[in-house]
């Protein structure tokens, strides 16, 4: 069975890029446009990994991480945040909330692959 | 080392000290240089004139006149240094012999050579290999290895105390 990775971003282009890049590695990609959308979808069907933006209109990334960790099936899944250089503080907050790591935007597909390999094996 | 040792015709280089003509076997001679600057080595006998630079090597020069009890060799256009290769304690050593002038290379048959007379040459007989005769002139053939033997040159060691023959010793303290 394919492992599922959820990409959460209000930018369709970022979601698409994540989707196209990771599909090639053999993952099934589920998209969500913001935190609330993501949470609703995960509660219905748990995922194996989460890649989420931090600044989103409905339910920001950090709150999303906290909520996801409360879902028993997702307690130990890798969660990667998409940050920008100017968000050093967010990295720490995210880590405290239970995120596994981060990727700094803008990133290239190969950087994304490196991080996913790192946390998914 | 007697004249009987000389059994075949040999070439000699002749040179002059004052009026006298001396000869060294040509096989011992490496080259002849014009007079050049000699650096005196302190605390050595006067006949040891010092050292010269021979193409990067430091070579001692012996003043033959002083060595043979004459006055010091003066620097003239004819003054030259005969570079000889001698055997010191079994090691080959290069030395310079300061002479008033170099004459020529001659060939002497053994029968033209007589033993050195015991007296009358003013030189120690063991320095003389024989007396050659040429055009009614006598040539003193030197036993150069003896002249430049360790014993002869090692006067250096005591130079501080003992004045060298034929010259005043360097003043000590």
């Amino acid at each position: 069975m394919k492992k599922t990775i959820m990409t959460v971003d209000d930018s369709a282009s970022v979601r698409l890029m994540v989707k196209f890049t990771l599909a090639e590695l053999g993952f099934e990609i589920i998209e969500a446009v913001d935190g609330r959308d993501a949470l609703r979808k995960i509660e219905k069907k748990p995922v194996h990994m989460l890649i989420t933006d931090i600044n989103m209109p409905e339910l920001d990334g950090i709150s999303l991480v906290k909520k996801v960790r409360e879902i028993p099936a997702c307690k130990f899944i890798p969660i990667i945040m998409l940050t920008t250089e100017s968000q050093e503080e967010k990295k720490r907050e995210g880590k405290k909330a239970g995120a596994t790591g981060w990727i700094v935007k803008p990133f290239r597909p190969d950087q994304l692959v490196a991080v996913v390999r790192k946390v998914m094996g | 080392m007697s004249v009987s040792a000389i059994t075949e015709t040999t070439q000699y280089l002749t040179f002059k000290l004052g009026d006298e003509v001396f000869a060294i076997e040509i096989s011992k001679v490496r080259e002849v240089l014009d007079f050049t600057a000699i650096t005196k080595v302190p605390r050595t006998p006067d006949f040891m004139r010092g050292v010269i630079n021979l193409r990067g090597n430091v070579v001692p020069v012996v003043d033959m006149r002083l060595k043979f009890g004459m006055t010091k060799t003066e620097n003239t256009v004819n003054t030259c240094i005969i570079i000889v290769e001698i055997s010191l304690d079994g090691d080959t050593t290069v030395l310079g012999a300061l002479a008033d002038s170099v004459q020529e290379v001659i060939e002497l048959e053994p029968d033209k050579i007589e033993p050195a007379p015991r007296i009358g040459t003013r030189l120690r007989t063991d320095f003389i290999k024989g007396m050659g005769k040429r055009d009614d002139n006598f040539i003193i053939i030197l036993e150069i290895d003896k002249v430049f033997s360790v014993d002869e040159l090692s006067l250096v060691r005591d130079a501080g105390d003992v004045p060298a023959p034929g010259g005043e010793g360097p003043s000590g303290t």
């Binding site: 700094v104 950087q111 | 650096t39 304690d89």
Partner: protein
């Protein structure tokens, strides 16, 4: 795939158009009110997003162009720049250009030109941009980033103790370890000693820590990068245990105990405690319960892995070093010597020729020659330790033969000396050590009755002292009996019975040919070959020997040898027409001698201190008269400062040492000769011998008077 790509680009385009129209709205607001902070923020954010997206989707030109505009708005946001109409105008133009870039990416050349023009006018308006430019660096090394391999294998010890709640962040430590193993040869040892028993265990926590010994060509940063997401919560210690290049003379690595102490697995005290036992250290530590078996295992693996990498390096070193015959090396040194001489001629010629070009060439040649000389000399330098090690066997065999107990201690084995010096030093040292053990060290029972430890000590040490190396051979044996030596020497006619001698002078008599005080001839020494061979060897190396001894306590023999035999730094001086060279290493300073000798005494006052001096003109019987102002070259002797009065100090001189040859053997005070730039020969002075000659002369002179 292409379809997907098109879709991706189309999405990016739409998003950019959206961002641009939002941006334009905000720009209108800013135009109306230059102090509208919200407008500034949203403009900044929009440009930032466009820049980021441009970078992600291959619109590098968009990204590059937007970067500077973003910087300007960052400054505006920070109220460092007040927005005005020209900025707003430029911003609108920028929006148009970005739109154009996104819409028709094929016309990138023309767009680039426009972009450069716009940026130029922007920079003209706001010179601050250039200063404010930040260089952002990705926090994470992407797989595509070029990581230059260090090319050398290095060994690291990594201790990784994750925070217990590491699982709660979705991190799998096993993956990190696997990633680590991908860097090179890796040994992983898990420490399970912190795992509590089942009752007390929280399955959601991580109790394990790991020791990893990694051999890799990667650098420490590459290792750290693996732990980037956990490094602030985990305990992570990365240490380089082998840097891959420092010279090793054997593949052996630290002892087990050392590793454990270094890693704080055990305390040095515990180590001491256990080392008294007889079993293997590892077993004993575990038996004593001082350390977990895993720690021992980790340390043993570390030993093994470093040993492997070093073995590999040793093998490689065989290839990277080449053996050169000493003959070739000697030839090279001779050639360098000749070059130095020719260079001196060149420099001299350049000095007297009014040609700046020639002057600078001469200087360059001088610099290169000096460098070549130093490098060549360096090739000839070898550590003396190789010689030392062969004496261990000698000491062992000798002491067994003589029924003595002797321990040999060596110090300074890494002191480097000229190859020739080391080669010629072997035999004299054998002699001296034999002498120590044969005549110096007493039999064990004698030592005990004297209240000394049964075991005698022979210490061999080498230290640098200026341009010399001091080699000391010390024993804690019977010491020298000055009376016996004196009597013996007098008997042999080496010294007058009534001569006044200092202890040092008496001791030096043992170096005289044929001298021996040993009452019975042993198998070892006393074969008619005395310490005079040592003296001869030292002389031939331009070295000196001094002896200190205390009866009953022991003897120290000190050999002082020059570092190199071929070329030294010299100080060129002139007296009359004669030139001499003093070894620069001995020279402390040069001062003027004004007013000549006072009361006929050869003593100068140098800044309030008394310095006795030697008139070289007198010593060397050089004719002519001294100039009005003479120079004193002050050298440091073993004990005091002594001056040498000369006419002129010319300057420093690279001095290629030539021996004076057999003819001048035994000449004291002159250690050799050198050839100067003008082709003449200058003599090299043996400063300490000269001083001694004068001292002895004065002492005996006074005695006569």
């Amino acid at each position: 795939m292409n379809e997907e790509y098109d879709k991706l680009i189309e999405t990016f385009r739409e998003e950019t158009y959206e961002l641009l129209s939002e941006l334009e709205t905000s720009l209108f607001e800013l135009e109306k009110d230059p102090h509208n902070g919200d407008a500034v923020s949203s403009i900044f954010r929009a440009f930032h997003s466009i820049k980021g997206a441009g970078g992600m989707f291959g619109f590098d030109e968009v990204s590059r162009f937007t970067h500077d505009i973003e910087t300007v708005y960052d400054l505006v946001r920070g109220e460092k720049i007040l927005p005005d109409k020209s900025l707003v105008d430029l911003s609108f133009a920028a929006c148009d250009l970005i739109r154009e870039m996104v819409t028709s990416p094929n016309e990138v050349q023309a767009q680039k030109k426009k972009a450069d023009e716009l940026l130029a006018s922007l920079r003209q308006l706001f010179p601050e941009i250039t200063e404010a430019k930040k260089t952002g660096k990705s926090a994470l090394r992407g797989a595509g980033d070029l990581v230059l391999p260090a090319a050398r294998l290095r060994a690291y010890r990594i201790r990784f103790r994750p925070a217990p709640d590491i699982f709660a962040t979705g991190t799998n430590p096993a993956l990190l370890l696997r990633e680590l193993c991908g860097l090179g040869q890796c040994s992983v040892i898990a420490h399970s000693d912190s795992i509590p028993d089942l009752n007390g265990m929280d399955p959601e926590l991580c109790y394990t820590s790991w020791d990893v010994i990694l051999t890799t060509e990667q650098d420490m940063d590459a290792i750290r990068d693996i732990f980037i997401f956990v490094e602030d919560t985990a305990e992570l210690i990365i240490e380089m245990i082998d840097d891959g290049e420092s010279a090793v003379d054997s593949a052996d690595y630290k002892k087990l105990g050392e590793i454990l102490v270094e890693k704080r697995d055990i305390t040095p005290k515990d180590l001491q405690k256990v080392l008294g036992g007889r079993k293997r250290l590892g077993e004993m530590l575990i038996d004593e319960g001082l350390v977990q078996p895993e720690s021992i295992q980790a340390a043993l693996i570390e030993q093994e892995q470093v040993r492997q990498i070093r073995e590999g390096r040793l093998k490689k070193e065989v290839i990277s070093n080449i053996r050169v015959s000493s003959e070739k090396l000697d030839k090279l040194v001779n050639l360098v010597g000749e070059l130095v001489t020719v260079q001196a001629r060149l420099s001299r010629h350049a000095l007297y020729t009014d040609d700046p070009e020639l002057g600078s060439i001469a200087e360059e040649v001088e610099r290169l020659t000096a460098e070549l000389r130093d490098n060549t000399m360096n090739i000839r330098m070898l550590p003396i330790g190789t010689t030392f090690s062969r004496f261990r066997r000698l000491v062992r065999d000798l002491s067994t033969d003589l029924g003595k107990e002797v321990e040999m201690v060596t110090e300074g084995g890494d002191t480097e000396l000229d190859k020739t010096v080391i080669e010629r030093l072997g035999d004299p040292l054998v002699h001296l050590i034999r002498n120590c053990i044969d005549h110096g060290i007493e039999p064990p029972q004698d030592r005990e009755s004297l209240g000394k430890p049964r075991k005698g000590m022979v210490r061999l040490s080498a230290t640098h002292s200026g341009a010399n190396v001091l080699i000391e051979i010390e024993d804690d044996g019977a010491g020298l009996d000055a009376g016996a030596i004196r009597a013996r020497a007098a008997q042999r006619g080496l010294v007058a019975t009534d001569a006044e001698l200092a202890d040092g002078e008496i001791f030096s008599l043992i170096l005289a040919p044929g001298f021996s005080t040993a009452e019975h001839i042993t198998n070892i020494s006393g074969r008619g070959v005395g310490l005079d061979v040592v003296k001869k060897a030292a002389d031939s190396l331009r070295g000196e020997i001094s002896i200190r001894s205390e009866k009953g306590k022991g003897t120290i023999i000190i050999l002082s040898l020059p570092l190199t035999l071929a070329i030294i730094e010299g100080l060129l001086i002139r007296i009359g027409e004669e030139h001499f060279v003093l070894p620069l290493s001995a020279v402390e300073e040069c001062v003027e001698l004004i007013g000549g000798d006072s009361h006929g005494r050869h003593i100068a006052n140098v800044r309030g201190r008394i310095v006795p001096y030697i008139r070289l003109r007198e010593q060397f019987a050089i004719g002519g008269s001294a100039p009005e102002i003479e120079q004193i070259v002050i050298v440091r002797n073993e004990t005091a400062r002594v001056g040498f009065v000369v006419d002129t100090v010319i300057g420093e001189n690279q001095t290629v040492i030539k021996t004076l040859g057999r003819v001048y053997k035994g000449l004291e005070g002159i250690s050799g000769a050198t050839i100067l730039g003008d082709g003449t020969v200058a003599l090299i002075l043996d400063v300490s011998k000269l001083i001694r000659i004068v001292e002895e002369g004065e002492v005996s002179g006074q005695a006569i008077q």
